[in-house]
């Protein structure tokens, strides 16, 4: 009995190796390790709180001195004006900016990207601690917190959910469907009709875009997020081009696999690296530098800026065009594979 179980287990392992499940098992820990390495690397410089100050603002000399002394905690950047500092924050180069408060004389307003973030809490806590050491009183230098993104926490999550939906359809749903049609020879059957290869490919991409659209619409109906007209159209424009790009990539992934099982594995191998660096970029400055190199970022970054910072599609022409271009290249490659009856 044990012998038979061993034989069957070995057979299952061989199947897992053949359909690439083992790669997935090895890939996920490797990917998590690399991600953690990037997020929590040994370079403590990346862990410092990057705080921006105005060159001509009347900060108490003791405060500046104390911030400079605490150089293992704070890194100070100086700006000629508030706008430059806000741009620095929006680029995610810094964590927060202290400017004189209009509401309380002698105290400061802390400008951050989002009010409810780990960085904001860290700045408030650290500045208060510095002040207690220096002045021994509890009244904080920080009188108010001004977030650049006014939206609610749910709204701040929206870009990540949208990215997840787009990637889910692109890398999990479509590759499995394409591989199924190949595996069951359904695609070859369809190619015995007068359809063009490109028509079949575009139908698959349209399916992906439709599914993404339905999911986004459903999400919108349930959560009832508010957009103005410009924001709404800009969001729609990126959803369309993102849906096009990742559906086309999904079809290509499907073409690289012979079976549904391989397509699922390969889909996850593409899904995770596209999702995590973009979605986690806000938590790590290192990831923030890596994320733009990944094709999902030209979708995630602009979508986030449109939804949370009031940007519009005309602010991101390069990203829009690059997503469209990636989609076109993916369709072209799928077309080549289809013409060669690759793994069919």
């Amino acid at each position: 009995m044990i012998r038979r179980i061993a034989v069957l287990t070995l057979n299952d392992l061989a199947i897992a190796f053949k359909n690439k499940t083992l790669y997935l098992i090895l890939f996920v820990p490797l990917f998590v390790f690399l991600t953690l390495k990037v997020v929590d690397g040994a370079d403590t410089g990346a862990q410092k709180i990057k705080i921006g100050l105005l060159e001509k603002a009347p900060y108490p000399r003791a405060m500046i001195h104390r911030l400079q002394l605490a150089d293992s905690v704070f890194a100070i950047d100086w700006f000629a004006n508030e706008e430059a500092g806000k741009r620095w924050l929006k680029d995610k180069s810094g964590d927060g900016m202290l400017i004189p408060s209009d509401k309380a004389a002698g105290r400061f307003a802390l400008i951050v990207l989002t009010k409810t973030s780990l960085q904001t809490i860290a700045i408030v806590e650290s500045v208060a601690e510095l002040q207690r050491v220096l002045e021994g009183k509890d009244k904080s230098w920080i009188a108010e917190i001004q977030p650049l993104q006014e939206s609610e926490l749910q709204m701040q999550m929206l870009p990540t959910w949208i990215l997840m939906l787009v990637l889910l359809v692109g890398f999990i749903v479509l590759p499995a469907q394409v591989a199924e049609e190949k595996e069951k020879k359904l695609l070859l059957g369809l190619l015995q009709t007068p359809i063009r290869e490109l028509e079949w490919l575009l139908a698959k991409v349209c399916l992906g875009m439709f599914l993404i659209g339905i999911a986004a619409l459903f999400l919108q109906l349930l959560a009832q997020f508010d957009f103005d007209a410009v924001g709404g159209w800009s969001y729609f424009a990126f959803l369309v081009v993102g849906g096009f790009c990742f559906s086309a990539l999904g079809v290509l992934v499907g073409f690289l696999c012979r079976t549904q099982a391989s397509a699922r594995v390969l889909g996850v191998l593409f899904y995770l690296p596209h999702l995590l660096p973009s979605a986690l970029a806000d938590f790590s400055q290192k990831l923030n530098t890596v994320a733009p190199l990944i094709p999902s970022y030209p979708f995630y970054g602009p979508t986030k800026a449109i939804l949370l910072e009031g940007a519009n599609v005309s602010d991101f022409p390069l990203q829009w065009v690059s997503l469209f271009g990636i989609g076109v290249v993916a369709i072209f490659m799928s077309h080549r594979l289809m013409k060669k009856r690759w793994l069919m």
Binding site: K184, L186, L188, L191, Q192, T193, I195
Partner: protein, 226 residues
């Protein structure tokens, strides 16, 4: 000449497949392509149907090159060994889908359902049908666009005696309607009375091409099947 196969070849990594093969087919022939498993029968049919891209050679149907796939699909109907139908949809849906893609009138679906005795199963999902019924649906689908040339790859594979007889009756009926038919089999005895011509493939090479009478007189049959 309806079909011309000129130096067609396809070799797989394991050196199997089809070596350069040349033959032609006249209109109205009913040809059985026989040979053992791995002889190259399916490879030949898959290339004729556009499922496989040949390494070398060309195929012409009524003078049209195989590269013109979209024109040729109306001239060649292919019934694969395992029916490649959308299992989770009904018989009628499968036929209607292909009728739409071929842009033939929807009345053709009704005709096909009646012609192949599929009316009682029109709403049944394909996955619920027996292999014989699936094969009938598959044959019906291949005839939707009324192609003059039909390829059947092992049409009786996995079918019982009764079903096999039924399929052969169907082949005769289709042939009698003026179609040219090529079908594969690895059971020559069964096709003795059916084919007008027999082609034998052995290890990827065409080793016999003649009438059934000549074939059964020759020692090739004895050598291959004794």
């Amino acid at each position: 000449m309806q079909l011309e196969v000129l130096q067609l070849s396809k070799v797989y990594k394991e050196k199997r497949g089809l070596q350069a093969t040349r033959f032609s087919v006249e209109k109205g022939e009913l040809i059985a392509v026989v040979g053992h498993n791995g002889a190259g029968k399916s490879t030949l049919f898959k290339m004729l149907a556009g499922w496989l891209i040949p390494d070398h050679g060309t195929v012409r149907v009524d003078g049209i090159d195989l590269n013109n796939r979209r024109t040729l699909v109306a001239k060649i109907g292919f019934v694969p060994e395992t029916p490649n139908l959308f299992d989770f949809f009904s018989v009628e849906y499968n036929l209607a889908l292909f009728a739409r893609l071929f842009q033939v009138p929807s009345a053709r679906v009704e005709e096909t359902l009646s012609e192949f005795n599929l009316v009682p199963f029109r709403h049944a999902k394909v996955q619920e049908l027996s292999k014989g019924l699936k094969q009938r649906v598959s044959i019906g689908r291949s005839l939707l666009a009324d192609p003059p040339l039909l390829l059947f790859d092992e049409p009786t594979s996995g079918l019982d005696f009764e079903m096999t007889k039924e399929i052969y009756v169907l082949l005769r009926k289709i042939h009698a309607s003026g179609k040219t038919i090529l079908f594969t089999s690895h059971r020559p005895e069964e096709i003795k009375s059916l084919a007008t011509r027999i082609m034998v493939l052995h290890q990827g090479a065409l080793v016999f091409d003649g009438t059934p009478v000549d074939y059964f007189k020759s020692d090739i049959h004895q050598n291959l099947y004794s």
